[in-house]
Point group: C2
Chain length 213, copies 2
Amino acid sequence: MSHTLGVRQAQKLKTRRALLDAALRLLEDQSLSSLGLREVTRLVGVAPAAFYRHFRDMSDLGVALVEESLGSLHAMVRVILAERDGDEERIEATVEAVAEHVSRYPAHIRFIARERHGGVRAVREAIAAELGRFADEVAEAFAPPLTADGWSAGDVRMLAQLYVDHMVMTATAFLEARPGDGSADPEAVREVAATARRQLLLISLGRRHWRTG
Amino acid sequence: MSHTLGVRQAQKLKTRRALLDAALRLLEDQSLSSLGLREVTRLVGVAPAAFYRHFRDMSDLGVALVEESLGSLHAMVRVILAERDGDEERIEATVEAVAEHVSRYPAHIRFIARERHGGVRAVREAIAAELGRFADEVAEAFAPPLTADGWSAGDVRMLAQLYVDHMVMTATAFLEARPGDGSADPEAVREVAATARRQLLLISLGRRHWRTG
DNA sequence: AAAGTCGGCGAACGGTTGTTTACTGAATGA
DNA sequence: TCATTCAGTAAACAACCGTTCGCCGACTTT
């Protein structure tokens, strides 16, 4: 019995989507704590009061955006971790995947980068929790071969954190490599990619020699 | 003839200081783009119009805060680079210096972390420029022994960037290890320090084996 | 077909915002 | 000493804000 979602609820989801999209667009040039409720409803073409049918306030909408933004990233990370090649090929795949993700969802990445340390507590905490889950997952994926080499759980965790933080760093670097209007400067993008690759290579070099040389 | 700064100009600098301090304090709980001019003048106890005697607008004040915040960090970085010990001792000194700096100027660090990707273009650019200068300086300090080992200028630069970004990362991690009220959770602080040390150790391990095995 | 649900509307509310204006009075310099 | 400079003031401005209210009318359930 798939219910195909009655006309009513479908419409509601539609304007909810529109609100989220409008907010995401406006957040490309400002931060969440300065984004007005009326600004969003105005862009959607809906009365200010309608906002309350979907979100309690702006920080509530912000938390929803966090889940959405990091959800897509989550899928990407899983795919990368499934790669079973050697270090260098894995690095290549990672950097390319991040680059593609940034150029596909720039507003999402910008939102995360901006609000990770932004002025809205609930949103900060949601982002921190989600990134922590990423680190757990990365740690879990890297653990088997490393623990066999005598790595402690703490060491694995710090490596995973380094990887996740570096991924966020790289993503925002890709973001800054594109001018405000949307199109990317190809040379700057290549340079960011080259730097990220070299840094990851250096890290994996350190990992191979960790407490063995 | 040192002029000891006439009474008039001294008073002006004093209220300018007060404006900057008030803004910095208010920015602990919100971001620059949502900070109101009147909020700041109200906290200082001065008429709103007085603000314009010192700054053109809020983003102007923000740029002034950037210079001030990263100025103190700059001095710290210079001191660390002067250390001439081995890797491990240098790492120890670095992490400790960052920790102390964060606990001495938490508001400055929070401001930088928050506005680095924040909603005010001029401030973002000022921070990026200053951090770029940091990376240059680090690169210059590390260059001699590395180029002797066959490192290219690009490789040195990417290592310096990794160090600077990691420093900022560590500083904000220290910041998050303290509850909102100001006092720090000693255990969380120790854990951040331990993670940072291990990550730097891993990086320096990678550096030693860079294109040599 | 009737009764009920509920997403969106329009208007109003008190409050806050950035900015301009003409002003005062103390520090300044001739 | 006297004219000038200028940091800070008080008041007014229109524009905007978040939030509440009752109401409508299309969908949904009985």
